[in-house]
C-alpha cells in the first residue's frame, strides 16, 4: 500500500512538473503582456513532434536541446505576426486569437503527423528501473524531474541575474516606466513570449516520452496549468511552480483512493483556495 501511494505520488510529481513547466511559461506571458496563451498546449505538442522529427538526425540529446529553441522561434514569429497587434486591447481578443491558434495547432499536427500515437525513442539506458523494490523509479522519470528542475532554476537565474530578466520583472510591475527608461518594450515582449514558449517546447520534448506523442497532448495539459497558476497565486512565479507540483501530487495520490476523481480533485483544490485565500498560496494582495 505504501509502495502504491509512493508510486502514484511520484507519478503525480512528474505530471506536476509538466504542469509547472507549462504554467511557468503561461505565467511569464500573462504577467508581462496580459495575454492568456491558449495555444500553449499546441506549442507543447509541436515541441514533441519537432523532437520526433529531429531524433533520427541529431539523437535524443540533440533534439532535447534544439527542438525547444525551434518552438521558441515559432512562438516569436506568431507573437510578432499576430499577438502583438492585440496588446493594449480588451483581453478578450487575445484570448480568442490564441484559442483559434490552439485549434489550428491541434488540427495541423493531426494533419501532418496523423491522429495515432507515434513511437518515440528515448535512450534505452534511461528506461531500466533503478531498483526492484521501487520499480517505478526508472532513470527516465528521474531524468525528467532533473531536467525540469534545471530548466526552472535556469529560468529563475535568468530572471534574477540577467539584464533581460530584470527588465521582464520590471515590466511586469510597470511596463510604461520601463518603456520610458528606453527599453524596447516590443522586443522585450517578443523575447518574453519566446522564453515562455521555450518552456512549453521543452515540456513537450520530455512529456511525450512519458505520456505518448499525439495531437491532443497539449489540450490535456493546459487546463491543469491554469489551475496551477490560480492555486499558486496570480503574479507569483514561485507560486506557480508550487501550485503545479502540488496539484500533480494531489491528483496522483487521489488515483490510489478514488481513481474516478483523479482529474476533478485539482479543480476542487482550486475552489478551496479561491474560497479560503482568493489571491492564491503565494500571490500578492490586490493583483487581479
Amino acid at each position: 500500500m505504501t509502495q502504491l501511494v509512493l508510486f502514484d505520488a511520484f507519478n503525480g510529481l512528474i505530471v506536476g512538473a509538466f504542469y509547472a513547466l507549462m504554467a511557468l511559461g503561461l505565467s511569464l506571458i500573462l504577467n508581462l503582456s496580459g495575454v492568456i496563451n491558449f495555444a500553449h498546449g499546441g506549442f507543447l505538442a509541436i515541441g514533441g513532434y519537432f523532437a520526433y522529427m529531429l531524433i533520427p538526425y541529431v539523437g535524443f540529446w540533440g533534439a532535447l536541446i534544439v527542438a525547444p529553441f525551434l518552438v521558441a522561434f515559432l512562438g516569436i514569429i506568431v507573437e510578432r505576426l499576430l499577438i502583438c497587434r492585440l496588446y493594449g486591447r480588451d483581453p478578450l481578443y487575445s484570448l480568442l486569437l490564441t484559442f483559434g491558434l490552439a485549434f489550428i495547432f491541434e488540427d495541423g499536427t493531426r494533419f501532418i503527423w496523423g491522429a495515432q500515437s507515434l513511437p518515440y525513442q528515448v535512450p534505452g539506458w534511461l528506461l531500466s528501473p533503478l531498483s526492484s523494490a521501487y520499480f517505478f523509479l526508472t532513470g527516465y522519470r528521474l531524468f525528467m524531474v532533473l531536467i525540469v528542475g534545471i530548466a526552472v532554476v535556469g529560468m529563475f537565474l535568468i530572471l534574477n541575474y540577467t539584464k533581460l530578466g530584470v527588465r521582464i520583472r520590471a515590466g511586469t510591475l510597470d511596463l510604461e516606466t520601463v518603456s520610458v527608461l528606453g527599453v524596447n518594450v516590443r522586443l522585450l515582449r517578443s523575447l518574453n513570449f519566446g522564453l515562455g514558449v521555450y518552456l512549453a517546447g521543452l515540456a513537450g520534448v520530455l512529456a511525450v516520452g512519458q505520456l505518448g506523442l499525439q495531437p491532443t497532448i497539449g489540450g490535456s495539459l493546459i487546463m491543469p496549468s491554469f489551475v496551477a497558476i490560480i492555486v499558486g497565486g496570480l503574479g507569483s512565479l514561485p507560486g506557480t511552480l508550487l501550485g503545479g507540483l502540488l496539484i500533480g501530487v494531489a491528483s496522483g495520490i487521489t488515483t490510489v483512493f478514488w481513481p474516478s476523481a483523479t482529474e476533478a480533485v485539482i479543480y476542487v483544490m482550486m475552489a478551496a483556495v479561491l474560497l479560503v485565500r482568493p489571491r492564491g498560496l503565494l500571490g500578492e494582495e490586490g493583483r487581479f
Partner: protein
Amino acid sequence: MGPIDIKKQAPNIVVWLLLLAMPYWLVGVGGYVELGTRVVVLGLAAMSLNFLLGYTGVLSFGHAAYFGLGAYGAGMIIRYIVPNTGLGILVGTLVGMLAAAVIGPMIIRLRGVYFAMVTIAFGQVFYFVAFRWNNVTGGDDGLTGWTRQPINLGFTRVDILHNPTAFYYLVLICFALAVGVMAWILQSPFGRTLIAIRENERRARFLGIPVDQHIWISWVISCSFVSLAGALYALLNNFVDPRALYWTQSGDFVIMAVLGGMRSFWGPLLGAAIFVVLQDYLSSQTENWMSFLGLFFVLVVLFFPRGILGMMRRKAVS
C-alpha cells in the same frame, strides 16, 4: 406608454418575422428545419453569454459548463425520472442556475483575464464528472436511450419528436420568453446599473453601487439562460455528451457573440447563425474543419473585432 416608435422597433420586427417564418424560408434557401432550431438554441446561448460579456463587461469563458448542466439536467430527468419534456427543461435550467449561484461568490471578485481563466477552469469539474460517472451519465459515449416527449396541452398532444417544425416553435417560445426577460432586465434600472458597471466600475463603486452583488446576479441570470439553451440543445439532439461541457464549447459561444457584435442586443444571434451554418458547411466539406474554424477565430479577431452589427452601426454614424 407613448406611441410605438416604428423606426426604433424596425430591427426587432424584422428579427421576429424572420424567426417566426424560419421553417418556411429556410427550407426554400436549401436549409433544413433542424439547422434553424440549432441557430435559435445556440443564439440563445450566445445572447445569454452576452448579457454578461457585452452588457456587464465581465469576461466569462466558462459558459459551456452551465450549457452542459442544463443539457444533462433535462436529459437525466427524462431518462431516469419522469418522461416529461417541460419538466426536463425546467429542471435543466434550475440545475445550471443553482451551480452558477454556488460558484458565483468564489469568482465575482476576479476581473478580466483572471475571471476568464477561473471560469474556464471551473467548467472542467463538470466535464470530468460527466466523463467519469459512467453508469449515470453514460461517460464518453453520452447519455442515450431517451427522446423528447410529446407536449400535453390538455386539449391536444403535440408530437415534437417526429415533427421538427413543432419542436422549432417550442424552442422559439422558450427563446422568446428568455430574450424578453433579458431585454426587460436590461432596460430596468438594474440593467442600466450593469451597463454603468461595464463603463466604469470604479465610478459605480464610488456611487455606492454594490458592484460584486450586481455582477453575481448578472452572472446567475446569464448562466440560467445558457442552461435553458443547453436543455433545449439536449432535446434537439435527443442526446448529450461531455463535449457539450468542454472548454472549447465556451470559446464557440464567445466567438458567436463577438462575431455578431457584443454591443448590440441581436448581434450574438446573428453570430450564432453564421457560426452554425459555417460549421455545418465546413464539417461536411473537409475533415480539417477545426483548422478552418481556428482560422475563422483569428480572422474575426483581426478584422471584425466590433462584430458585424457593430461595424454597420459605426458606418451608419459616420
